[in-house]
C-alpha cells in the first residue's frame, strides 16, 4: 500500500498533463509581408469570428452574403460564433490569464465599451488597419469613426458601421412625441407607466444623451472629468427622480435589456422603446414585430452616434486571414450591401468623396428607409460618445441613485 504523500502525486497528475499541453505558436511578422503574400497564405484557412447574433437581418447578411463571397473570392471559411461583447471579453481574459497563445477567436465585433476593456487587458492585435487596402476609403476625418468613446482607435480596430440612437414610438398611440427632455417629463406625468429605460447599454446611452444635453454640446468631451460629472449627473438624477414615480412599475424596477423593452412596447405596456441602431425600426417593421405605425426619432438636444468595429485578438491564430476578412467587410461592395435597408440598413464608414465614381453613385442612389429619419437629418443631432468612465459611473449611479432608492 502506498504511503499517504503519494496520493497527492496522483491528484496532481492531471494538472501536470494539462500543463504540458500548451502548444507553441509560430510567430510571424505580418508587417513584413505584402498584401498579396497575405492573401496567398490565407487561402484555404478558417477564420472564427465572434459576434452578437441577435438580429435575423444581420445573421442573414453574414451567412448568405459574406460567407459565400469570402469562400469564392479568397477561399477562406468564415465560421461565426454567437457571443456578445461581455462573452468576448471573458473568453479573451481567461485565455490570456491562462497564457493561451493560440486563441479560439480570430475576429471579433466590438465597439467602445469592449474596445476599452480589451485595450485595458492588451487583448487586441495591432495596429493593423492601415494594412488593409480598403481602409483608404474610410472616412478617418470623421470624429465619429476616428474616436471610439473618445479614445483614438490607432489602428487597433477597423471601423465597420455607424449607427445613431433613436427613440421609437407608435403614431397610433402617440400623435406628438415629446421632442425635449422637458416635454418628455410632461408626457410621462400625463401617461403614467408608459415610459422606462432598459438597465443595459441602450438605457445608459439614453442617459448619456440626456447628460450631454444638460451639460451642453462639447462640455464633456475629452477624458473623464470628475467635477463635471458630479455637477451634471446630479442634475440628471434630479430629473430622473422627478419622473420616476410615473415610470413603468413606478420606476421600482427596469427591464434588464432592450429586447424586453421592445416586448413591452409591442405589448402596449410602454409607449416608447429605443434602439442604438437607427435602422432597427425599419428592420423590425419588415419582420412584422413592430406595428407599421412605429416611427423612430431623436430628441432636439441630440442622441449618441457611434461606430462599431472589427478587432483581432492578440492571441488569434489566424491574424492574416482575419485581416483579409476585415478588408472584405470594409470593401465598397460589402458596405453597400450592408447599408441597404432591406438587408441590414447599417450606416457605412466609407467616405463618399474617397470612393471610385461608380460607387459614389451607387451609395447616393441607395433606397431610403421608410420609418426612420434620413441619416443626414439624424447627423444634425448627433452627439459624440463620452469617455468610457462616464458609462461606468452612470451604470453604478443609476443602480445606487435610482434603482435602489
Amino acid at each position: 500500500m502506498p504511503h499517504k504523500p503519494l496520493y497527492f502525486i496522483y491528484l496532481l497528475m492531471p494538472l501536470l498533463v494539462l500543463a504540458g499541453c500548451g502548444s507553441k505558436q509560430k510567430t510571424e511578422n505580418l508587417n513584413e509581408l505584402s498584401w498579396e503574400e497575405i492573401t496567398d497564405r490565407t487561402e484555404g484557412t478558417t477564420v472564427s469570428m465572434m459576434m452578437w447574433k441577435g438580429d435575423p437581418n444581420i445573421n442573414d447578411y453574414m451567412q448568405n452574403y459574406v460567407v459565400p463571397k469570402l469562400k469564392k473570392r479568397y477561399n477562406i471559411n468564415l465560421e461565426i460564433a454567437s457571443g456578445q461583447s461581455n462573452t468576448i471579453v471573458s473568453i479573451l481574459m481567461s485565455e490570456l490569464e491562462a497564457g493561451k497563445t493560440d486563441g479560439e477567436l480570430d475576429l471579433v465585433w466590438i465597439n467602445g465599451e469592449t474596445f476599452y476593456q480589451l485595450r485595458q487587458i492588451d487583448g487586441l492585435y495591432g495596429p493593423f488597419v492601415d494594412r488593409l487596402p480598403n481602409s483608404s476609403y474610410i472616412d478617418f476625418s470623421n470624429p465619429f469613426i476616428k474616436y471610439d468613446f473618445q479614445q483614438p482607435i490607432n489602428g487597433y480596430e477597423a471601423p465597420w458601421g455607424n449607427v445613431q440612437f433613436t427613440l421609437i414610438y407608435d403614431t397610433n398611440r402617440t400623435a406628438h412625441p415629446p421632442k425635449t427632455r422637458q416635454e418628455l417629463a410632461r408626457y410621462v406625468e400625463q401617461h403614467p407607466g408608459s415610459f422606462t429605460i432598459a438597465n443595459d447599454f441602450s438605457g445608459m446611452t439614453f442617459l448619456k444623451s440626456l447628460l450631454i444635453g444638460m451639460a451642453g454640446p462639447g462640455t464633456l468631451d475629452g477624458s473623464f472629468d470628475e467635477a463635471a460629472y458630479q455637477k451634471y449627473s446630479t442634475q440628471l438624477w434630479d430629473y430622473f427622480n422627478r419622473i420616476k414615480p410615473d415610470l413603468w412599475k413606478n420606476g421600482e424596477t427596469f427591464p434588464s435589456n432592450v429586447s424586453a423593452l421592445h416586448q413591452l412596447f409591442v405589448n402596449g405596456e410602454l409607449h416608447f422603446t429605443m434602439s442604438n441602431n437607427d435602422a432597427e425600426v425599419d428592420n423590425k417593421i419588415l419582420e412584422g414585430f413592430f406595428p407599421e405605425t412605429a416611427r423612430a426619432y431623436v430628441l432636439k438636444d441630440g442622441t449618441i452616434q457611434n461606430s462599431h468595429y472589427l478587432g483581432i485578438p492578440t492571441n488569434a491564430t489566424g491574424k492574416a486571414a482575419a485581416m483579409v476578412v476585415s478588408n472584405f467587410l470594409i470593401s465598397p461592395e460589402a458596405q453597400y450591401q450592408k447599408a441597404r435597408p432591406d438587408v441590414w440598413g447599417d450606416g457605412t464608414v466609407l467616405a463618399k468623396s474617397k470612393l471610385p465614381e461608380q460607387w459614389t453613385k451607387k451609395f447616393r442612389e441607395i433606397p431610403q428607409r421608410k420609418y426612420a429619419p434620413s441619416r443626414d437629418s439624424l447627423n444634425k443631432h448627433a452627439l459624440q460618445e463620452l469617455a468610457p468612465e462616464y458609462m461606468i459611473r452612470l451604470y453604478e449611479d443609476f443602480r445606487e441613485k435610482i434603482i435602489q432608492q
Partner: protein, 293 residues
Amino acid sequence: MRISEKKLFNSKPEAAGILLFLVLAVLPLLLGIAYALLYSLGAIGLINEGLTLAHWQRALNDMEFWYSLGYTFYIALTTISLTIISALSLTFFLRKPLQRGVPGFSLYVPLALPAIVVAFLVFQLASQSGFLARIAYQLGWIAEASAFPEWVNDPYGTGIIAAHTFMAMPFFTLYFINIYDQERITEFSHVARTLGASRLQQIIRVEIPILLKRAFPTLTLYTIFVMGSYEIPLILGRQSPQMMSVLIIRKLRKFSLSTIPEAYITGLVFICVVILLLILIFKKRTFSYDLDH
C-alpha cells in the same frame, strides 16, 4: 504476528474508485475555489495589481450583497415551504388518482420543462400584459392592463416563487407518494387508528413526520438548488435585490472589469454559507436514507 492491519480502503477497486471520484469531482471544485480565492486577493488576474484585501472590504461593505443573500434565502425557503404544503396535500388527498392514467402522467409534464421555459411561461402568463391580464381585461375585471396585480418583476418575487414551486411540486409529490408506499405508511396509520387516532391525528402525528424525515436530505438539497438558480430569477426578478447567481454574473460581466474579484468573493461567501449550513443541519444526522438513524 500481526493479526490485523488498519487499512484505509477495503479493496483495490474501492481505493481506485474513491481516487477517481476525488480527482474528477472534488479536485476541480477545490481548484476552482482556490482560483477564485487567489483572484479575489489580487494574486492572479490580468487587471489585478498584487495582493490586497481591498476587494474583500469593498464586497463585504456592499449592502446590496447582504440584501441579495437575504433575498436568496427568502425565495428558497418560501418555495420549499409552499412545495411541501402542496405536495403533501396532493399526496394525502389525491394519491390514488395520481398513480394512474392521465393525472399520473400529467405530474411528469412539469418535470420535463427546462427552467428557462418555465420562466418564460410564467412571464407570458402572469405579466401585466400577459395572458391572464388580457383575459381579466376582456372580462371587464380591470380597466387597463396596468391595473392587473404585479406578479412578475415584483418586490416579493411572486413570479420566481411560483415558477420554482411549479417545478418542484410534482417532483416532491411523486417522491412523497413513493415513500408513502415504500414505508407502508398506510399500515402505520391503520395501527394508529386502531389505537383511537382520528384521521387528522394520523396525518399530523404519523404520516407527515415519516414523510418529512425520510425526505429531509432531498428537501435540503433542493433548497440549495433553488438558492443557486439563475434563469428564473433573471427573467422574473427585479433589478434589485437580485438572487445570488444573478448578482454574481452581473458583477462578473460588468462594463467595469474591476468588479470581477467582487464576483468571485460573492461566489465564495455563498459557497461558505451553504457548506456551513449543511454542516449544521447534517451534524447530527447521517446521509443515510434509513429511518433508523
